[in-house]
């Protein structure tokens, strides 16, 4: 089991390390986001007399949102690589079990996300003087909650592509931006119209970003936010993994494995 998971991770590592465009996608975008939002926050801080630092709230939100985005992309893109290289059939005739593929995708996504965040955190800490680690242990809790949300979306998108074909690939980028306005990344839940709030309370990142703002602005922690995010994430990850399994079974019935990439 471990050797097969290791094989997948090494394969994806080799793929990324050997390709400049792939390396850019891992390292460049998180950093460029921080630079853009960093300058914008600096400008806002100089123009307003807010009692708390806009830089802290905005840049921490940008970093955390990127965890979700990179986590999701890291998983789906890694899976899509098999489709793009017309390798899916070869993969599914090996003794690789579905759960080993799932674990391999999760570990690869985790490594990609962490590596991508390192330069972004470095820039935000040393150039914009953001105290990312001000969140302390909560940063780790927020990180895992958001990356789990990313994986849940990743498995749903990958499952849809597997079953219904490559036209669903666009969802890898679109889905996350559909979720963005309702996730309360840059503003509190109370900002949203009440009817949308009723929908947003089921979106786990809402509680992560509410919790983050409470720590930065009010210097206090609401554990109920963390608990709600965690329960929703476990539920969503379980459902999405089950969905991905079902899509594999459904693809076997439809006979599409032999046609992927053609």
């Amino acid at each position: 089991m471990f050797l097969r998971i290791f094989a997948l991770i090494i394969r994806y590592k080799t793929l990324v390390v050997g390709s400049i465009p792939r390396l850019i996608s891992v390292f460049w975008w998180p950093s460029i986001q921080i630079v853009l939002w960093g300058f914008f926050s600096t400008f806002l801080d100089s123009e307003t007399s807010s009692p708390y630092s806009t830089i802290s709230v905005l840049l921490t939100a940008v970093i955390l949102w990127d965890v979700l985005f990179r986590g999701q992309l890291g998983l789906t893109i890694t899976f899509f690589e098999e489709i793009w290289s017309r390798n899916l059939s070869h993969l599914f005739i090996t003794p690789l079990r579905n759960f080993e593929l799932i674990i391999g995708l999760i570990i690869t996504s985790f490594i990609r996300t962490v590596l991508g965040l390192i330069p972004a955190i470095f820039i935000s800490t040393y150039y914009f003087e953001l105290k990312t680690f001000y969140l302390g242990f909560y940063f780790v809790i927020f990180f895992f909650n958001l990356i789990i949300t990313g994986w849940s979306i990743g498995f749903i998108v990958s499952g849809l592509v597997l079953r219904y074909g490559q036209s669903f690939e666009e969802l890898a980028w679109a889905f996350i931006f559909l979720l963005l306005p309702f996730s309360c990344v840059y503003y509190p839940l109370s900002t949203l119209p009440e009817i949308i709030q009723n929908f947003s309370i089921f979106i786990s990142p809402v509680y992560v970003f509410e919790g983050m703002r409470e720590i930065i602005i009010q210097n206090q922690t609401n554990f109920s936010y963390i608990l709600k995010a965690f329960i929703l994430n476990i539920l969503y990850l379980s459902v999405s993994v089950y969905f991905f399994y079902k899509m594999i079974i459904s693809t076997r019935k439809s006979g599409k494995f032999l046609n992927f990439g053609e």
Binding site: A7, R11, L15, S85, S89, I93, P95, S254, G255, F257
Partner: protein, 237 residues
């Protein structure tokens, strides 16, 4: 022990019958051919044996184990290659072969060097798979298909993209490999001359049904044709 046994295998795609009650058995050693016109059901049949496609009805037994129950045990002893499928293009040949060796739990990577030498692709090991010619890709695909020393090897048109000299080499390689390792090779092909030359038995599918099953020479004399190609072209009329 039979290497492969199909019992009333039927596959429907929506309401279209791709395979209709296919039953046959392949013994544990030998090279067997699978023939049929386009759309006869060859690819579907191979996909079912590989566990890539589920049957609608019927059972597949590989080494006397039911594929639907023992998929992963069976897949360890089975392998496949087709010129219509690729390996990851950005990885080198060696990286690809190492990747698949690990997936099959093959820990001794010496087999990569040995097979590469036998298939005369040692000089390609450091090249990216995507940079290879069609013929070189076919040989690398074959190398990948032998990485776990399979007991049942499935091939889809193994010489379709090769020049005559390389085709000859691959045919001889397969014959020798089968004799040396006592395995079962089941190959789908459109090359009648090749099938006649290397196969101990042929199975011909027509519109999803098993149409003919027999030894090439016996079939040719039984139906009074000159060769397998004649038989294939005329027997359905």
């Amino acid at each position: 022990m039979d290497s492969l046994k199909l019992v009333n295998v039927t596959k429907l795609f929506d309401n279209n019958v791709a395979l209709n009650k296919i039953s046959f058995t392949l013994p544990s050693k030998g090279i067997f051919g699978l023939l049929g016109t386009n759309g006869a059901g060859k690819t579907t049949l191979i996909g079912i044996i590989l566990g890539l496609i589920d049957t609608t009805k019927g059972d597949v037994f590989v080494f006397e184990k039911n594929l639907s129950e023992f998929r992963y045990d069976i897949l360890k002893k089975l392998n496949f290659t087709s010129p219509y499928l690729d390996l990851p293009k950005k990885l080198t040949v060696k990286q690809n072969l190492t990747f698949y060796a690990r997936l099959y739990n093959v820990l001794n990577f010496d087999i990569i060097e040995e097979l590469s030498e036998e298939l005369k692709i040692s000089d390609l090991l450091k090249k990216q798979f995507g940079s290879l010619s069609a013929g070189q890709k076919t040989k690398v695909g074959l190398c990948k298909a032998l990485i776990n020393t399979p007991k049942l090897l499935l091939l889809d048109e193994p010489t379709s993209s090769l020049d005559p000299e390389t085709s000859y080499f691959v045919r001889n390689f397969l014959k020798n490999y089968q004799k040396k390792n006592h395995i079962t090779i089941f190959t789908a092909s459109h090359n009648m001359q090749e099938v006649e030359e290397i196969c101990d038995r042929v199975i011909i599918l027509d519109k999803g049904k098993l149409f003919v099953d027999g030894i090439p020479k016996e079939l040719i004399s039984k139906y009074n044709f000159e060769n397998l190609e004649d038989l294939f072209l005329n027997i359905r009329n």
